[in-house]
């Protein structure tokens, strides 16, 4: 069944990238029809607060949603919520929805984001084992927020640690289990890992590294403990699992679009099909600054690709090529990250992470700045963002020297 309406731009997924694309399409002067199809019940919202202020109950959904629902009507954008796209027919230029509609498109944007990686161990389906990706997940987790309750967080990545910080502030006993020998092992230098372990332990969070979860124990269908395989059981009332995400690429694969660790796009967000574009967590894109392809999970990536895709669908070139950046809020610490540290040959510390709550670690590759982790240090973050884009070769001694202003570090 076709809706019988004129074809326009269709966007699959109603998240961060999709919302930006709607705003940018109108800003670029597109006057045709836009149909936004998302499988969640809510209009597009921001996910970062889900493990921060929204989880803490400090802000309501009205401050998490990206635009009020009325905006979409005002922008002449049909918002089809609680609706899943089941298939794309690239030859016929239609998408099929799970409720049996066939919607024609002139141009299609895939902005399906990613989903959580599930833990595949016995007891995975016990009540009280949660993940964190959506507003609904937050409500489920919050239902356990009673002082004295015991939480085990599986995975010491950003989301796990942010959840630990919020839960601890709510009077919950928190244990974080991490497979690697340190938290944040995938993304930061040991100096930064050690710092966060120190902060969390000081707050009363138990952190156990080198622990691989092999199962969950339960009673009456509810989780009561986490089994680490070496005979040790960590008792709990609830669990939050944060062990990574998987990009939602199945629709693209089935439509014959090239996928390789994400939907393969160029710097203009174009896929291998001339009428189909992709933006956000689901993509794999080239980055000229780092001279390689990336699959990123960040708001910046979703927003910037959303803008580029809107332009590209209008036939305009607005290449996406930026220094990636990200942030994480834990307790009163703001971590700001710019660049990509993989392959660094030297880490330079500015400040005293062993004792203070502010410092920065610069990552150099053969003398060239490629990334920074800055904790409560906006100057180091902001300046590094510029220097990374310039492939600046920096003197490690100057970077480490606190008496030299960040604006001056690049000077010989």
């Amino acid at each position: 069944m076709s809706t019988g309406e004129e074809a326009g731009i269709v966007i699959i997924g109603a998240g961060q990238a999709a919302s930006q694309a709607v705003v940018s399409l109108r800003a670029e002067g597109y006057e045709g029809r836009i149909t936004l199809i998302g499988d969640e019940a809510e209009p597009p919202y921001q996910r970062p607060p889900l493990s921060k202020k929204f989880l803490a109950g400090e802000i309501g959904f009205d401050r998490v949603e990206l635009k009020p629902a009325e905006f979409y009507a005002g922008a002449n954008c049909a918002l089809m919520l609680s609706t899943r796209v089941s298939a794309i027919d690239a030859a016929a230029k239609t998408v099929a929805t799970s409720d049996g509609k066939l919607i024609p498109y002139t141009k299609l944007l895939i902005a399906t984001g990613s989903r959580v990686r599930e833990i595949n161990v016995p007891g995975f389906d016990l009540e009280g084992v949660h993940y964190l990706r959506s507003v609904g997940d937050v409500h489920d987790i919050q239902s356990h927020f009673k002082a004295g309750a015991k939480l085990v967080v599986v995975g010491g990545g950003y989301i796990g640690l942010e959840v630990a910080a919020v839960a601890k502030k709510n009077g919950i006993a928190v244990t974080v289990l991490e497979t690697a020998d340190r938290v944040l092992a995938r993304v930061v230098d040991p100096i930064v890992s050690k710092f966060y372990e120190r902060i969390h332990r000081a707050a009363g969070v138990v952190i156990e590294t080198g622990v691989t979860v092999v199962g969950f124990e339960g009673k009456d269908g509810k989780v009561t403990g986490v089994d680490s395989g070496d005979g040790k059981i960590f008792p709990c009332d609830f669990v939050v699992v944060g062990i990574g995400i998987i990009p939602n690429t199945e629709l693209a694969v089935n439509a014959g679009i090239t996928v390789d660790n994400g939907i393969v796009v160029d710097e203009m967000t174009r896929t291998s099909d001339e009428n189909i574009f992709a933006a956000g967590d689901c993509t794999n894109h080239p980055n000229g600054i780092f001279d390689r392809r990336l699959r990123l999970e960040s708001v910046q990536n979703a927003i910037e690709q959303g803008k580029t895709a809107a332009a590209a669908m209008m036939g305009k070139d607005k290449p996406y090529n930026q220094v990636p950046w990200f942030w994480s809020d834990q307790y009163d610490l703001k971590l700001q990250i710019a660049g990509l540290s993989q392959g660094y040959t030297q880490a330079v510390t500015r400040g005293h992470p062993e004792t203070d709550n502010n410092f920065a670690v610069f990552y150099l590759k053969d003398g060239v700045l490629i990334a920074v982790d800055a904790v409560n240090r906006p100057p180091e973050f902001m300046m590094s963002k510029l220097l990374i884009a310039q492939h600046a070769k920096l003197d490690p001694a100057r970077l480490a020297d606190e008496s030299i202003n960040m604006k001056e570090v690049a000077k010989a």
Partner: protein, 106 residues
Amino acid sequence: MTKVTFIEHNGKEHTLDVADGLTLMEAATKALIPGIDADCGGACACATCMVFVPAEWESKLAAKEPMEETMLEFCEHSAENSRLSCQIKVSPALEGIRVTMPESQH
């Protein structure tokens, strides 16, 4: 409700009635006023919500926290009278305030 005017770099004015307690950034982005990007959604992490505040209003705003202060210091288009709009809560004391946006936030 408090009356707030946002002025685009090209001079175009937008006057809004804003619920007290929202930030200037939230008011502008929800009303789709061009010129404020607010990539981090108000986490004081991105400096893409910068506005210029006329001198006569400065004293009526809460002072900058150190985080905002240093973000601004390193923000490309910032000036003496720059503020991050996500750090400014709207209250009746701001009735009639007029803020100007930079040409670009990036």
